[in-house]
C-alpha cells in the first residue's frame, strides 16, 4: 500500500468546455475538505474523478496525482490496492449476517484478524443514540446505526487513506464525532454536503459551479465558532430525537441540552471571539 501524503487535482474543463477556475489543488493527509455548490454543479463528478484517479480521461479532463506523481495502473485498477473509501446516503448493509460475524469477516478480508470487533462496535455506538449489539442482524439496523457502523468500519478496518463522503447528513449520527473518528486516522477526507454542520467542519471548501471547481474558501475564525455552536444545535436535535423515540414528551428545557463534550469547547470559542 502506497502511503498517501498528498493528492493533487489538476483542473480540467467545466460544462461549457472552459478551463476551470482552480487550475491546481493539493490536498494533504489529515485534511478535511468540503465540496459545496448547487445541485448539478458537478460535486459528484469531482468525487468520482478522485475515486478513479482520473488521468484526463473523464468528461472533466481532470488529472489526479498521488504524491505528485501519475499513479501506476495497478494503483488505479487493482481493486486490492484501491485507496479510496466512499460513504454515501444510498449505501446499506444487505448481507444476512450478525454484526460481529460480518466485522470479523471483513477484518479477515483485510488480513487484520487481530482487530477487536467490540472496539468497532463501541466506536460506532459513540456516533448513534441507539446502541448496536454484536449479535444484531445487519439488515435490521436503522439508518443511523448503519451509517455509524460504516464510519467505524472505514476508520478501523479499511486501510483506504482517502475517504469520500457523499451527503450523509440526514443519517442521524453525530456528524462532528464521525468526522473526528475518521480524520483521527490521518485520512484525507472530502465531503460533498449541503449541510452547514458538515460544510463548516471542514477547514477548506471547494465551491463548485457549472461543472468546474470555481473557488477554494478557507474557514474563517468566525466560522470556526459558528461551527462549534452548530455542533451544539446538532447534538440537541439528536437528543430530542432520542427522547421522542423513547416515548417521552419534549419540554422547553430540552432545547438547552448540550452534551458535556461540547461545553468546554464552547467556552474557549467564545473567549477567542
Amino acid at each position: 500500500m502506497v502511503k498517501i501524503e498528498c493528492i493533487s487535482i489538476i483542473g480540467g474543463i467545466d460544462k461549457s468546455g472552459k478551463p476551470e477556475n482552480i487550475t491546481s489543488l493539493d490536498i494533504r493527509e489529515g485534511e478535511i475538505i468540503g465540496i459545496v455548490g448547487p445541485t448539478g454543479s458537478g460535486k459528484s463528478q469531482l468525487i468520482s474523478d478522485i475515486e478513479q484517479l482520473s488521468q484526463k480521461d473523464s468528461s472533466t479532463r481532470r488529472q489526479v496525482l498521488v504524491n505528485g506523481k501519475v499513479p501506476s495502473p495497478a494503483l488505479r485498477n487493482d481493486p486490492r490496492q484501491k485507496m479510496v473509501a466512499q460513504l454515501s446516503q444510498n449505501m446499506n448493509f444487505l448481507a444476512d449476517m450478525e454484526v460481529r460475524d460480518f466485522l470479523r469477516l471483513h477484518a479477515r478480508c483485510r488480513g487484520k484478524d487481530q482487530i477487536s470487533t467490540d472496539e468497532i462496535i463501541y466506536k460506532a455506538n459513540q456516533l448513534t443514540g441507539e446502541p448496536i449489539k454484536p449479535n444484531d442482524n445487519l439488515t435490521i439496523l436503522s439508518g443511523g446505526q448503519t451509517r455509524a457502523l460504516m464510519v467505524a468500519d472505514v476508520a478501523v478496518i479499511s486501510e483506504s487513506p482517502i475517504v469520500l463522503i457523499d451527503e450523509i447528513e440526514n443519517a442521524g449520527i453525530k456528524k462532528h464525532e464521525a468526522l473526528e473518528l475518521l480524520s483521527g486516522h490521518n485520512k484525507l477526507i472530502m465531503i460533498v454536503t449541503h449541510d452547514p454542520v458538515m460544510a463548516l467542519s471542514a477547514k477548506k471548501r471547494i465551491i463548485m459551479k457549472n461543472g468546474g471547481m470555481s473557488t477554494l474558501l478557507e474557514a474563517t475564525p468566525e466560522e470556526k465558532i459558528v461551527s462549534e455552536q452548530l455542533s451544539g444545535i446538532d447534538a440537541t436535535i439528536l437528543h430530542l430525537r432520542e427522547l421522542l423515540r423513547n416515548g417521552l414528551y419534549i419540554e422547553e428545557n430540552d432545547l438547552n441540552f448540550i452534551p458535556e463534550s461540547l461545553l468546554c469547547k464552547e467556552e474557549n470559542a467564545s473567549l477567542t471571539l
Binding site: 449505501m91 444487505l94 466485522l103 471483513h106 478480508c109 483485510r110
Partner: protein
C-alpha cells in the same frame, strides 16, 4: 412433439455464401453473461460509448428467452444490433450454436468486434468459448454468498464486472470481492456503476486491448449441462411413471429409465 414445431432462428436474413473465413477468424468475440437484472446492458451501453469515441465499431448481439428491450437501448448507440430469442431453449445453448450467424452479421456490417449479451439463466451453463473474452456481470447486492453459488459463468470468466456497488457498504463490497476471487482466482475484477458509468473506462480499455479472434475451431470452456429426459421434449405430466431418460433422484443417484 408440438413444442419443437418451430425452432427459433436468428433474424439474419442474408445468406452467408460470401462469408470470408479468414476475416471471421480474426474477429474478436466478447461474451457478456450474467443473471437478468445484473446490469449487463447498463454496463455495456456505457462501455460501448467509450469504445465509439475511440473510433471502434463493434456489432452487438442480444440473446434473450422470450422478449427483450435491450435492442432499443443498444439502438441508441447507432451500431449494428441483432436480436435472437431462444424461446424454450436454454439461451446459452442457443447462443453457442448460432455463433456463426452472429459472426457473419458482424462481418457484413464491417464491425471490428462482436459483443454478445446473453440472458444466462440456468446457472449451469457458461457461454464462453476458449478464445473469446468472457465477461461475467454480477450484482453486488445479491449478497456475499452469491459468488459461491453462481456456477461456471462466474468461475470461467476472464473479467468479472461487479455492479451496484453504490448501494452497499465498502465492507460488503470487499467481502463480495473476496468471494469472487475464491470462485475464480485468476479473474480480473472491475467495479462498474451501471447508472453513471463510473469504472466503464477500465472495462473499455480491456475490450480494446483484446485482439484474439475466435476461429471455427474454437471450443467451449465448460461443458453444457446434461439434460436428456422426457421433460426436455415436452412432457407436462408430473408423475414419476411418465418420465424416461437420464434422471437424478433427490438422494443424488443417477439412473437411466427407459429401453
Amino acid at each position: 412433439m408440438q413444442r419443437r414445431k418451430c425452432i427459433p432462428h436468428l433474424v439474419a436474413t442474408d445468406q452467408q455464401k460470401m462469408t470470408d473465413n479468414k476475416t471471421i477468424n480474426k474477429l474478436p468475440l466478447i461474451i457478456i453473461a450474467g443473471t437478468p437484472g445484473a446490469g449487463k446492458t447498463s454496463v455495456l451501453v456505457h462501455t460501448i460509448r467509450i469504445l465509439k469515441s475511440a473510433n471502434r465499431r463493434p456489432a452487438l448481439v442480444k440473446i434473450d428467452c422470450l422478449a427483450t428491450d435491450d435492442d432499443k437501448r443498444f439502438a441508441k448507440l447507432d451500431l449494428p444490433v441483432l436480436v435472437g430469442l431462444s424461446r424454450d431453449m436454454c439461451p446459452d445453448h442457443y447462443s453457442i450454436y448460432n455463433l456463426d450467424e452472429m459472426k457473419a452479421f458482424a462481418q457484413k456490417n464491417q464491425a471490428d468486434a462482436l459483443i454478445m449479451e446473453t440472458a444466462g439463466l440456468c446457472h449451469r451453463c457458461a457461454p464462453y468459448t476458449e478464445n473469446c473474452l468472457g465477461v461475467c456481470v454480477i450484482d453486488s447486492t445479491s449478497g456475499p454468498n452469491n459468488p459461491g453459488k453462481a456456477g461456471p459463468f462466474l468461475s470461467c470468466a476472464d473479467i468479472v464486472v461487479v455492479t451496484k456497488g453504490d448501494m452497499i457498504s465498502q465492507a460488503e463490497r470487499e467481502i463480495f470481492r473476496e468471494r469472487i476471487l475464491e470462485a475464480n482466482p485468476g479473474c480480473n475484477i472491475v467495479d462498474v456503476n451501471g447508472l453513471n458509468g463510473q469504472g466503464a473506462a477500465e472495462l473499455a480499455q480491456q475490450f480494446q486491448s483484446f485482439k484474439a479472434g475466435s476461429s471455427v475451431e474454437d471450443k467451449l470452456r465448460h461443458n453444457a449441462p446434461f439434460s436428456v429426459c422426457t421433460l426436455c421434449v415436452g412432457e407436462k405430466r408430473i408423475d414419476k411413471k411418465y418420465h424416461r431418460g437420464l434422471l437424478r433422484t433427490m438422494s443424488g443417484c443417477e439412473q437411466y429409465v427407459g429401453e
